[in-house]
Symmetry: C2
Subunit: 134 residues, 2 copies
Amino acid sequence: MAKEKGQPEINKAFTEECNKVLTAVSDALYVIGGKWKLMIIIAMARGNNRFTELQRQITGISARVLSSELKELEINGFIEKKVTVGYPVTIEYQLLPYSHMLEELVGAMTKWGIQHREKIKSERASGGATSVRV
Amino acid sequence: MAKEKGQPEINKAFTEECNKVLTAVSDALYVIGGKWKLMIIIAMARGNNRFTELQRQITGISARVLSSELKELEINGFIEKKVTVGYPVTIEYQLLPYSHMLEELVGAMTKWGIQHREKIKSERASGGATSVRV
DNA sequence: TTAGTCACTAACCTTTAGGTAACAAATAAT
DNA sequence: ATTATTTGTTACCTAAAGGTTAGTGACTAA
């Protein structure tokens, strides 16, 4: 079937565009991948700025994990830790502008997640098992 | 500071919207999270439909992982395995329509990933270490 | 005949993400 | 005086993700 001998320059352009996208997505997943990073940013964007608030809003996260994720987010320039000296000392985390660049991504993911849940629900309702053939 | 005594109904609306988004994102991450799922879908959308093509296009993935990820993608309705009987038997994977609903998400992630890489590069160039202050 | 490709699978191992529990220092509430 | 809350840290452990190596059966090319 002449394998990849035909249209070599078209193939190459495709491959390059593909690599560009793959690299970008891989980069993104590297910093915001994992179970919690986006969730923390989402909760903070909705006014949860204290450690305990975050722990309450994000069900299932433990103090240990929240603490280490906050540190990573700070190192990567997404958030800032603000310590207000006084009695008592209060600690607040603030989103930095860089976090807002994630809004489009979060929006797209939210939209997809809602559609996905709908799909699963309607599949359950109509008794359609997730098909596996061959 | 009257903590959460003021504006209780506004707080509640915020919390609920927040929960909705958190649930949606969590649902999305559950099915398309991880290092490889999106990458496979991206490569397939660009014409890589054979096992070996995918292995070549997606640098770093092993046969074992590719095989198991393809199975999961099939179970979740993203792709389909097509076996063409003949000499030799050929096996092709096809994206199902459901995969195309990920396009917006992939687009947003690609865009962000590219911006992120630019940011890192310019930080490196200007000698700015990723700041950590307490 | 030998070597190579395709599409995997099995067995095994390492790494990392994340969970659990306990503790701590300070202040607030009863 | 005691108990609870806030904001974590530390040590330990498990489970899941993913990597490595080898091998298979069917075909193809040299």
